[in-house]
Amino acid sequence: MSQVFHDIEKKIITSLKDNPKQTPETLEKSTNLSPDQIRRGIEWLKLKNLAIVNESKTNVISLGKNGIESFQKGLPEKRLLDLLKNGPKKLSDLQKELGPVFGPAIGLAKKNNWIESSSEQISLKNLPSEFPGEKTLKQIANNKLLENNIDKNDLLVLLKRPDFIIEDIIKSKEITLTDSAKSIKFSSFFGAIDVEAKVPEIFVARTHPLKDTIDEIREIFVTLGFSEIIGNMTQSSFWNFDALFTPQDHPARELQDTFYLDGISAKKIATPEQIRKVSESHKKNWRYYWDINEARKMVLRTHTTCVTIKHLAENKPDEAQFFSLGRVFRNEKVSYKHLVEFNQIEGVVVGKNANLRNLMGIQREFYKRIGITKIKFWPTFFPYTEPSLQTMVYNERLGKWIELFGMGIFRPELTKPLGITKPVLAWGGGIERIAMLKYGLDDVREFYNNNLGWLRSVTKCQ
């Protein structure tokens, strides 16, 4: 199989075939690639065993600030002697002429016995043929030089002087081709890329996984012939409890289970007739003093059943199938299996098909459509349905039966006072629980964490 090369690799190989030993810098020039492209290309070739990279370190020297000045204007001591060539000069004149290098120039000239000084004057004594260091200074100035090409003694003179010379270490790379690379012949097919290489990850924008489950469930019920109704999350206790035959002293109505809105009561809760008949049903069956102020207290709905019953009481249909879907609230401690706020689906059937077996049939069909086939029904109790059942579904991953939807037929004690004469099948349950099974989650809180790590990675089509 012929190897596939990136254009960068091809250019580098071609250049090295013409000129077998190169540095990255020379390759840049010969290939017209950027330093970064050269670096990457060499790296790729090295990994493919096509190029050999020899790294070496070299000491180089260049001129410092004072070195550059001395190169341009001459060494301070040379400039001093030049000034004295035409006869002795006053100390102050020399100082003015030479500026900051006056001190070192005088010092060096004296030390080498090139000058004589009297009280006020300086005069030339000897003029050297060559100044120490001058030759090397010129050499360095013309090029960055490798240390070993230079007269060591002469360099030492310069090194002793402050800021004349900068010493540096340069790492250099020498790139050569391996034998196998030398024999590579490029095909005439241009533009091939490394299709096996890793690519950057792009995060998709998407709907929330829980919303996907909600939409799926909504769609299933619509296709089963149910219509969606919606209602408020804040409800009077009347619709959340009283209309559903839950006595006012029932434990479920306590603060520790239900969220009451601080100091908020509804003025108008229902029609006078609805209020009268509901209260009569409570007094007769539960034997207690029914308090309208208790019914006025606003709560966060504990189920969507309040929306359903309100709709039924307003429309009194002879035949209907509808559902409501939305958030419900329970005053619970938040944990891996409990949320204070979660979604519930609830459906009802009114009409000639309203019987328990049909209610079970709807459940079975629904579960089948979300991929759950192992189900059974157990009797249970709800204050507002009679008979009441719950579905148990078997989860393979957890290896156990899990309780899902509850269901039943609305009690006549609650339908009659609201003028609903036909039997009403009702069922409902939490959606998060189904979504947890679907996404294999063990912690229900994940749905509301908005943790991008999870949202960006969870499989959408399940």
Partner: protein
Amino acid sequence: MPVIELSYTRLQKLIGKVSKKQISDSLPFLGLDIESEDKDLVRIEYSPNRPDYSTDFGIALGLQGLLGIKTGAIKLNIKISKKYRISVKPQVSKIRPFVTGIIAKNGKIDDKTIKQFMTMQEDLHFGIGRKRKKSSIGIHDLDKISFPLVYTTTNRNHKFTPLNSENTQSISEIIQDTDVGKGYGPILGNSSKVPIILDSNQQTVSFPPIINAAITTVTTKTKNLFVEVTGINKDDAEDMLSVVATILQKAGFALETVQISGAKNSTPKLVQKKILVSPMLINQMLGLNLNTSKIISSLKKSRLDASVKGKNIICTIPAYRFDIFGPMDLVEETALGYGIQNLEPILSTSQTLGQINPISSQLKSLSQTMIGLGYLEALNSSLTSKRVLYDMTNRNTSKMISVLDSKSLEHTILRDAIHPGLLENLSKNIHESYPQKMFETGTIFSIGDPISEEVSFSSISAHKDANFTEIKSILQSALKTGFGIKIETKTTTHPTFEDGHCATVILNGKSIGVIGKIDSKIIENYKIRVPVVSFEISLSESIFDTKN
């Protein structure tokens, strides 16, 4: 729901010839959920409407029926006795007006039985007794009491030795110092008088609904029992007594009456009631076609009596089955006796056409539009906290809607905006790669009549180049593509947004929301290191026109 622990071997003794497996298979079909099993012990959860299932005696009665070992209604055999009397003084009528009771003789009581009685008592107190407020029970050693008794009131300095104590204590001390006193004392309010049951020697028998006297403590040596129930309603007290009487009879006691008189009190009758039900209703509701004899045998398996009366079935309901209100309850009893596992689900073709609510479908389209614009959908709770909604975003708290007694500090306030939640989400994701772009649609709440709920739509974008122009482009495109509407923006100020980078969103001359760059101090407080831009608009006011 209450949970009790049962022993399979004890149940087997109480039921008759039955295997452990038969019991565990049948429990769920009695409406009892198995919580856990450990060898001989099984923990089950029962529904509060069946207080008779608070002991293994009651569950054994139910299982005998379901398994066909003993069917039909349980009859209470109560010997009428004149020996035991309680007279009630009128002064109790303002505090706890009713007392009722029964005698149970010649029973065997072992530790396990005492434990069952105690859980029964606790569950009855908690459930139908409404934490002892409505009615409460005292179970006493009959042989330590000398009849007749008097149910009257006493002062708070009245002294006696209460249960589980060795010293005499005054009523005030019991209410102030003991756990039961502190827990249930408030039921009696502040009245100077409290209810008391005294025997003929002026010895205290019980201080209802708080505690019994130590002298009448039931032990494994006790043979004969006296049970009293006090309460604020005569029927409720007798209902509770009927459960205890049924359990005691099953536990092997012989029942005798207690004669009660005075201040509107009378001897309990614990009578059965009769309810008529039509087989047609049963078949119609269950979707079955059972003949009357099958219905009758099913009802009997549910431990009721039933017989044909004309076209109907007349059903006899024992007193302890006060959960049965009318014919629909008998539909359920038939289904239980028939066996829920024998009901085959059917699916009738529907005559109705399904329809998605228009708001749901529009929100779904809006989601799709936002996804097309590269935004990820977030979901936050509507019940959130003051910290997230107001403290972190500098918003005004004057119209805050809070809930009472939340068990979770992070869930105390109903949101009046979505974007504070999205900001909080960004702060939890600062280690994830940028850009981070999210949107959310959902309900927001405000004080109305009494509460107004609106659908709101918010988006947020965080990355190093995030700016006003970007977020305005997003809003503009979303609304144009989503709903074909065009908005304008007008300079404004907002505590959450940076001055000079904040605008009101205007549709047809009306403000529908806010858009801008989040104030840098807020971003800093949240430890977010890139600029953040956001908008939030009300869809109820602009699109759906359904503010409710």
